[in-house]
Amino acid sequence: MSRTLLLKACTAMLRHDLTLAWRRRADLALPILYALIVTTLFPFALGPDRLVLQQIAGGVVLVIVVLAMLLELNTLFREDSDDGSLEQLMLSPQPLAVLLAIKVLVYWLTSAAPLIVLSPLLAGLMHLAPRLLPVLMLSLLLATLLISLLGAILMALTITSTQRSGMLLALTLLPLCVPIVIASSGTLVAAEQGLAWVAPLAWLGAALVLALVLAPLSCAAALHIGLDG
């Protein structure tokens, strides 16, 4: 009985957020454009030397995707908090952590997933070896999910803070992202050198499995701290 209700609430939440994203679909193009433009800056800054670009391609794409996500992340929960729908969410009889997890999922679908789809193009601009593409996309998949989950906690925490630019989020989130970036770039480096690249990916996977459960719970706790003032 209560399980079907929870399922109903979850699908409602999913539909609600996806509809909202669809209504402002023009905004969805912004992170994509951002990533494209920043990527094109690298050949201008470093010179069009194919070898130089190739060597840093994986890392550059990774960092650009992370930064593009970060810009989007700064809006997560903000509108919900301003128009009172977050309060309604917290007062509904459904477990808050599950609802927040769905919100994070929609955020990921609308901001990170397009970037992953775009990543072959970004990698191509940087002359990344095509054989590394699957590895790049796989590590991006895990890394972006992890960063979304971590970022959601910080956004929940800073929901009523007066500092609304992305700078605070960057300062607090990026240090936490260091292991994620290391592991995903480690995957790429290993793949490039012909070493076993599954190991760093497994680390990311382990972190993701834990984060999938723990992050929504911490996010709910952080939201209570964030709103309690």
């Binding site: 609430a9 939440m13 128009d83 009172g84 309060e87 917290m90 007062l91 477990p95 209570h224």
Partner: protein, 213 residues
Amino acid sequence: MEPMILTHCAAPLLEARALCFKRQDEPVFAPLSFRLDSGDMILLEGANGSGKTTLMRLLTGLLQASSGEVLWRGRPLHRDRSPGDMLFIGHHLGLKARLTPRENLRTSVDLYGAARTNIDAALGYLGLDAVSDEPVYRLSAGQKKRSALARLLLIPATLWLLDEPFVHLDGSGVELMNHLLARHTARHGAVLLSSHDQRVFHTAGIKRMRMDI
């Protein structure tokens, strides 16, 4: 604050015991104790900044009390888990500007696990037929308020916590609201509401609670 004199012996629906909330170490209001039973309606009165909204948020569990406690059906209110038969409509209406009233209501109804079939009737009752498929940002303030209040018709809740429900409503809206309140208390529901404007308010059997320190 005098505790309410009540005839019921069983655990009240909602009870506040020496409830106190401090913001920046300053108490927002004097410690409050009161109880609310089914069929009761309490009107919170007080000047701006007297803590009416804060009290409401405390009673919903959105805020945590600095001292004292809130009991819901005799048990301490759990902050992480809303009881589900309590409905709160605050200053921020919880409507998405880019969605239509119908879509907004559908989400609310699904979140509470209520029936979706009554949405049309509720929208009609509140006079929102014409705008039910317009995005909310095109609606007037009064129409937005009515859309939010439609939740009262759709979600079966025992306790209504309404922060300034009459603001932005026109004459017929006030009439509607008064009618809804009377009907809810007659059906053993309970209401706690705040309002500046007491002229709009004419339900019999209302208890008043002053919030001034």
